[in-house]
Symmetry: none
Subunit: 190 residues, 4 copies
């Protein structure tokens, strides 16, 4: 038995995501409503509810929809610090570009574990994986005596991103990158 009826309209999907991006950027996630999204996207509300569970889910798909973070290149040990530093700069670049959207998503994550899980999957886990890779693979996951494990360092970096995203709290200057450079240096020192 094959499926009957019309296929899902990609045009509507894209219009919804685009409208959401615009509205969040313009007025902040709090002031975005499903009704405004539907109106801006020329889409019926039932269409939205058919495909997304909540306003949070639309936002998550906006931010984390495609490929989010760059892959880690395999590099020689001598270039690790340079490569890692560049990689984290790219991460921060992505964060800054999507600051308004991510801010809303982070706010949502504090009340909705589902969103928190998606944030972890698309942001936290890749960071930790990259650090483990640089630290020398899974075998080195256990914390070094008196030093930070890749896991702990990932937490720290994720926290730094959360801090940077908070309005007023975090400046958007380069201090985070320098912090990271100092910390990453600890990873391999001995």
């Amino acid at each position: 038995m094959e499926k009957l009826g019309r296929k899902r309209s990609e045009k509507s999907r894209d219009a919804v995501l685009q409208a959401t991006r615009e509205l969040v950027t313009e007025s902040g996630f709090t002031h975005v409503t499903i009704e405004k999204i539907a109106a801006r996207a020329h889409v019926g509300k039932p269409t939205i509810y058919r495909w997304w569970q909540s306003k949070n889910a639309i936002l998550a798909e906006c931010v984390l929809g495609g490929e989010v973070l760059p892959a880690v290149d395999e590099t020689s040990a001598s270039e690790i610090h340079t490569s890692a530093s560049e990689w984290f700069r790219a991460v921060l670049g992505y964060v800054d570009e999507n600051a308004a959207l991510l801010r809303g998503l982070v706010a949502a994550a504090y009340e909705d574990p589902e969103i928190a899980a998606q944030l972890r999957a698309h942001l936290g886990d890749p960071i930790e994986a990259a650090l483990i890779e640089w630290a020398g693979g899974a075998g080195r996951e256990t914390p070094l005596a008196g030093e930070l494990s890749p896991h702990a360092l990932a937490q720290l970096l994720f926290g730094a991103i959360l801090y940077r995203l908070a309005p007023t709290l975090g400046a958007t200057d380069a201090s985070d990158v320098e912090m990271f450079d100092v910390l990453i240096a600890r990873l391999h020192t001995q």
Copy 2:
């Protein structure tokens, strides 16, 4: 010209704060409404709007109302690490005790700069002040070569608290304390 009219009812004030604490703990900040607070506190809605600007403001007063963080004791240099470690443990204890309320407050901070400023004033600034104190006073505020400044370290610790508060993201285990111990060791090492 003296103050005329009836005085503000402290009973109502306390009832509102207590009701908010209960409701946030029971169902999460998102599901708390002004109407439910008013009903639970046996208080009229206008009374709430007379004294608080928003639901966020009530929450902020709940969490940050009294004395929040312990003061830093003056200690001898030899005891710095012990003392700092204990102090940060106390901070985390406060955070864990008020986790549900703080989670809501952090979520609000991501959309409301006013709340963000209060969070910084009551949590971030005391942490930074303590670190500066331990680092040897204002004269040592500038970052040490290859090390973390007290300011950067405060950002890192605040970020760690944000991470710990996020549902699913942060575990409530002792790892943050250990992270802190490692980092604080860097402050004075040279």
Copy 3:
């Protein structure tokens, strides 16, 4: 361009009007609130505000919604008095049957010209038209010397209805009909 979307629910419309009729009869128009109407009719407040401008407008539609007054039969000149007397008795019957609703509507008319206009259109104008018909048509509209014009008589009868509706003021006995009989006799005398 055709009409899109869902049609207006006649069920809701009828429920609102019925609930209003009941509530006005039970407790008087002053104590009727939109919220009570909505609750009794099991209808949302926005639905009410979508279709009616005010509480007054709902009441007006309740009272003046359908066919209000009986038409005037064409009758031979000899039967005019009998016929007119019967017709006015029917008018008073309608007034008495809807006394509670009309009382509220009249009260509203004194503060809201819109309601006053509707009252005139559905009650005053038909009365005047009937009197003109009995007086011999439009050609006889001008006042007879020393007598009452149909227009003046209509004002008098409308005033008598207002008086009868006022609580305490007007008795609900038959005196109005007799007054009318005396007055109508003046219309055609000579």
Copy 4:
């Protein structure tokens, strides 16, 4: 035991009545609130509630407070029509001067029997008494065959006043006076 404490402040009383008169004239009785009266009169709300039962009661005292209608002069029979006509003109003059206040009072009367009773006592009863006087005293109260009794005529005139007060409904022209002249002529004819 005599009364202790301060006497009622006549200044406050007058200020309340004056403020009410102004507010009703400016915006209509519906939009007048106790709070606005208190503010305009520089008077506390409890002072108002201490002396008046309701907003209606304040209005009633505004309109019907002093001497309302002129007394009927004793006149010779030959001058009755002239005298009665002048008297009713004076009544209509009073009505027109206080139209805005009376309109509110009439609206209130339709929902509040207390107000209706006051209206009858200060307006309806004097009219009926005057008509009885002109008709030749109490002995002539019974209706004349085929004519209107003074009681019926009083109802008619009161109704005409109600009609004249209603917005849109009644014009403020002289037609009511002429109507009255025609009717009063019926009183004594035979």
